[in-house]
Amino acid sequence: MALVLEGITKRFPGVLANDDVSLSVAPGEVVALLGENGAGKSTLMNILYGLYSADEGTITIDGEEMTLGSSADAIAAGIGMVHQHFMLVPVFTVTENVVLGQEPTGFGGMIDRDIARETVMNISERYNLRVDPDALIENIPVGVQQRVEIIKVMNREAEFVIFDEPTAVLTPQEVEEFFGILEGLQADGKGIVFITHKLGEAIRVADRIVVMRGGKVVGEALPAETTQQDLANMMVGRSVDLTVPKESASPGDVVLEVRDLVVLDSRNVKAVDGVSFDVRAGEIVGIAGVQGNGQTELIEGITGLRPVMSGSVRMGETDITDAHPRDLHQLGVSHIPEDRQGSGLVLDFSVLENMILDSYYDRPFSRGVFMDWASTRETAQDLVKQYDVRTPGIDVPVSTLSGGNQQKVIVAREFAREVELVIAAQPTRGIDVGSIEYIHTQIVAKRDAGAAVLVVSSELDEVMALADRIIVLYHGRVAGEFAPDAEVTDIGLAMLGSAP
């Protein structure tokens, strides 16, 4: 007996989002739904969760056809969903969040907190979730918040649980714990749909992998019989290169020289605590580390966006400690910020306007205060073509583009000029395989053209694939330096603070 979706078709104006998609999940089975952004995974799951209605097709549970007109229907039918962005009230406690909407009431309609608390404790113990029922959501880490979402779903007696990109927000350790929880749910006979675009995770946890592309199911695979390469090819529809093809580096002069850098975070704690390193022309230095070990502050310190407490940053002969971003731009520094939408783009602006966001002030884009839109348009058109930005035009708001294409807008803007130093933070976070491959190629091309490149990524795979030299940050200090062919376990240990 199982949850079966059959022949689901969903049309949006001008787009076939789901085209005759069929999918089934049995109790105790983990099905990984793999696909790039825009492949139709989210649409399918939103149909299953009652948020959209399908134009064609049926949903049956244990042979009985379901009409899911709303998420309430879906919950009643035993379907639960853990969204990528949690639906929690930050100032409420864990217990309050779990029972929100179906509070157990006692005398006079008062919430019976004891019963509520007990419910949370029971579920927490049953699946080994280790959550303090009285903690405020805003005080607990993201990984624990996710477990609260799981308790919520279980409290509503879900038999089938959809996880939408559950590992995207987790640290590597949290990912491990999450996989443990998944096993527990599985052992308890829950059917699980695990949406992801991370190939390794799909192979590791799934019983069955379903690949979607362009709104269709394009293939199914068993983890034991497939490889990441096969899955990637299936997802993208052509053969993709998971390794980054590059010659060995031939480093030249030191371009970026960071000495004893100390930078405070927004709580005035030393986030970067005496970091020193060099980046030479023609090499890629990768900074690895679990997120939150000072990477953000390091980059902001180097790029003049956060005041430096002590230490120095030099670029060749020039002291650029606390230099203004505009000065760095003129010195030939490219910066791909880690928060694409928060600090890399103005989402309300068109593709065109974002293309010139940091170079609008000078020729050929403006003369004095006069913008030269004609020449700007020309440049933007060229860049869109040259950097393969998939957009209906340069005048559409950049917010309507997919994540990968938004990132390509930034890369185009930052790379389309003479560049001596590239600083790329999380350059491929959350984007599709095709765009990742493209952006990696561009970064290597900049290196080969003689630029010094500093790449920061919380994906160790990415750092290892790109870098010619790897520096591991732990608690704001350099915890080790490695060659790209070093053992993953050694780097992993350094990331956890235990020096090899």
Binding site: P13, H324, V369, M371, W373, V396
Partner: protein
Amino acid sequence: MTDTRLPEKEPTPPQRSPMMDRVTGVGTSVARSLVLPTLAMLTALIIGAIIIAFSDIEILRLLFDDPGAAAGQMVSEVSRAYRALFRGSLGSVNSLSESLFAATPLLLAGLSVALGFRAGLFNIGAQGQMLMGGLAATYVGVYVSLPGIIHIPLTLLAGFAGGMIWGGLAGLLKARTGAHEVITTIMGNFIAVFFMQWVLTTGIQDPGRNNPVSAELVTSARLPRLFGVDYRVTIGLLLAIAFVFAVHWLLYQSSIGFEFRAVGSNPKAGSYAGMNVAIVVTLAMALAGGLAGMAGANQVMGLEPYKATPALAGAVGFDAITVALLGRSNPVGVLWAALLFGALAAGGREMQGAAQVPIDLVVVLQALIVIFVAAPGMIRAIYRVKGREEKPTQMTTGWGS
């Protein structure tokens, strides 16, 4: 491996081209963009009619005895009021002149608030900036004597400068200390009023008066009337319209406007891209203040008795916020909104005089129009207009941003 293309991205609804709107100033589908405001106005008039019909206690009494007669009276009451509203706003050359006359300061102050919105700033201080601008203009208009061709621009410039200093101060406070402009500009309004009350009892006071009223502006500093002495509308209107184009140019054709809009929409991205957010904020508030200051100058240079009082701004500085919202902070939109509000103000006076419907109804109508324009979803639902979902108008980012 026959398929070599990447999957297309998520469905995106067909978009109008915002860039073209910005560059040309006119939407590619003007007619369509007028549908919702027109329906909003219609709805407001219908609700206004209901309010008029039910606000006469005599008719309400009659409603129980003779519903038919009461209905008839309601209809005649409403039609009398709305005919007066139309007559007073568009019905004659003089009405037209009165509408344009009332629209002039609204347009300048509306542009001030709209410019602020575009730079992510909520300028509630147009009122105070008008006072300061009016005061500065009064000094130049009373004490200086020059040929009109020089004196008028100089007086206007003084108005601009007065407002600019007052607005720029709020901008500087925000840039330097993070003080929120909503608070500083409101406080600025209070300070401006009391400052006026004090200054106008000093040297510049009208001789022979003991309340705060300034002396008369010399003739060479007064704005000439546009259509002869019988009609009150002045060349201030042309100036205000010129500023519609100037602000439009500034926002969409200059690199300064590019910075205003970028910082207004995402200050963090602006600073990452090398813009100096502090300078942008200060400059935007200063220019916004300058525009409001010109509106204030218009109030002493353009209408009898050509004197400054602490009440010279009336409620224009606050109505300007509504005008800017109604015009969606687009300079051309602000022009239409100011004309509409000017017409309602002129018509409202006629309505009060001829039909004994209180002028407050005009305020209700204005409020209703703005509510319906601000909530396009409601109008779409009422009239079943199809179209893409619009984002609710969010003009500024949150508190403390």
